[in-house]
């Protein structure tokens, strides 16, 4: 028990020493707060929700509109803050859904082994045979273009990664003495999986999840960019880039630039944070890096 606390304590200590991870975490908290409190932080909350202001079209960045306005006169700072609600939530929902679908399936495969394991793994093979995004495009198109359908479409293509991860982790804890003991005294499989295996495999899954949110935001923005995600009058960052792209080279550069930067920095922050958590959670990596 004492040894465990030393381990966990040193992981936190290690993470705190990782400057990139700390800066990233601070940035992500700031983005999340500005998304949650967007209505109170901007005077243009209505425009953030999509209401046009036709008297202020295509304003370049200035004091009144630091990031300018778009073709419908909407303040881009407000649009970005309200867009963050959609982009962030899409990324997080995709990863959560993928974890919720993939983890139990992977645990069952790893725990049962044999025929069931083989079947489940071959199914994941099939899903992973598609280039990323491609299957999501097809599913999103079949479901119809919308925010929630885009989330569902991406999650359906993403769960196999978590199934594989959960399976590998389950295999490595399955043979541990306390699980053998629990089986020996007749504890039911379902209880063993939930009470003994799940807590022991959560760490790597959470680490992978943190790393994946950034990528999920990118993929979701991609779907929105081609018109399969968030629908007007609402916007996420992908939609904003798409809205601004036709004006980008003709001098009205601000409409696509800032949402692009928002995606870029947010994805980077999730990557640095995820890397930090991964290294902190794995003593072996600490030695290597």
């Amino acid at each position: 028990m004492r040894a465990f606390r030393v381990e966990a304590g040193s992981s936190v200590w290690f993470l705190l020493r990782d400057r990139a991870a700390i800066v990233s975490l601070a940035f992500l908290i700031a983005v999340a707060l500005s998304a949650v409190f967007a209505p109170y932080l901007t005077p243009y909350a209505n425009q953030g929700r999509g209401e046009p202001e036709l008297t202020a079209k295509f304003r370049a960045p200035g004091i009144k509109h630091p990031f300018g306005t778009d073709g419908l006169g909407r303040d881009q700072v407000a649009r970005l803050m309200f867009g963050a609600r959609r982009s962030l939530s899409m990324g997080i929902l995709v990863v959560l859904a993928a974890i919720i679908i993939g983890t139990p399936i992977g645990m069952v495969a790893g725990y049962l082994g044999g025929w069931a394991d083989e079947a489940i793994m071959r199914v994941t093979d099939v899903f992973l045979a598609f280039p990323p995004l491609l299957l999501a495009i097809a599913i999103a198109a079949a479901l119809g273009a919308s925010y929630i359908n885009a989330v569902a479409a991406i999650a359906v293509t993403w769960w196999p990664w978590y199934a594989r991860l959960a399976r590998a982790q389950t295999l490595s804890v399955r043979e541990r003495a306390y699980i053998e003991a629990a089986r020996g005294i007749g504890v039911r499989d379902r209880v063993i999986i939930r009470r003994h295996i799940l807590p022991n495999i959560m760490t790597p899954i959470i680490v992978q999840g943190t790393l994946d949110v950034g990528t999920a935001i990118l993929v979701a923005a991609g779907l929105s960019f081609i018109g399969l995600g968030t629908q007007a009058p609402y916007a996420d960052w992908g939609v904003m880039i798409s809205d601004g792209r036709l004006f980008f080279l003709s001098g009205r550069w601000w409409m696509s630039t800032f949402p692009g930067l928002a995606i870029f920095l947010t994805a980077m922050a999730f990557n640095f944070l995820g890397d930090g958590v991964r290294v902190a959670a794995d003593p072996r990596l600490r030695r290597l890096l």
Partner: protein, 340 residues
Amino acid sequence: MAFLSFLFRRLGLSLFVFVGVLILTFIVSRVIPSNPAALYAGARPRPEQVQEIEKKLGLDKPLSEQFRVYVGDLLAGNLGESYHSRRSINTDLRLFLPATLELVIAAVLIALVLGIPTGVLAGAYPRSPFDYATRFAAVAGVSAPSFWLALIAQFIFFSQLGWLPLGGRVSRDATLFYPIAAQTGFYLIDAALSGNWKAWLDAAHHLILPALVLSAYPVGITIRMTQASMLEVLSETYITAARAAGLSRRVILFKLALKNAIMPALTVVGLSFAYSITGAFLVETLFSWPGVGKYVTEAVLNVDFPVIIAVTLVVTLVYILVNLLIDLMQALLDPRVRLI
């Protein structure tokens, strides 16, 4: 012998996966949509159009019968017809697929040429300024949305510097005065085959910017994986043994460690390919690149569902084949699989 059995096992797996892909795309096209006929009929169809489609696709028949017809059509090489243009999808793909593959292969090559040496050096000198800079660049590469990067790249290299064209596969001059005789559909190959070097240069010039943009993500992945596998290899006992035997740092890094590190790094080729294709779907429109990516994004706008499903199938088939080739290559390079 080990290789032959590996080959058959691996072929069997690919075949199995392909069958799975057929089933999954069938589910996506016929089971998930609440009204498949409406989807296949395109945007705002009239009721009689929907009925006509229903009959044509056999949507009134049981699913098993539908699947039989679906697979039968595909095996006969018939991918169907675009709702929007009424053209055969086979004809369209023959035109668009080479354009995308040319772009994607260029991006993969850039990713390998930039990513592998950088990753090796970063892994060889951990905690050096170069290592930190490289790791930062790698994270930046996998974090930039390709469609945004495309805009920025066009702004810099077309609008500001004027070095590279905005889009398209060749300039108008090339199409008018020295057109490329199409054979393979890969312009660089076709131009070279016919000795049309002016057109070759023109095509290469047009290829650079989109390929660079597409390579950003794969470069990041390649650097990360090469660096990680280099670190891993350098901590192996056989590297300590080589140092104890007095081999020079140069030989250890670039002969011994590199060969060990390149094996896992080969999987990076497959990943780079996959991510370049993903990128192509998002940026081809921005570069007016007449490939399957542009084809699909236009199909999305026109609610041209048959095209989306057909492209998904064909591109996935290509990806399966690429992965198969990579695995076989890896097996051939590894004496532990090759011999025994």
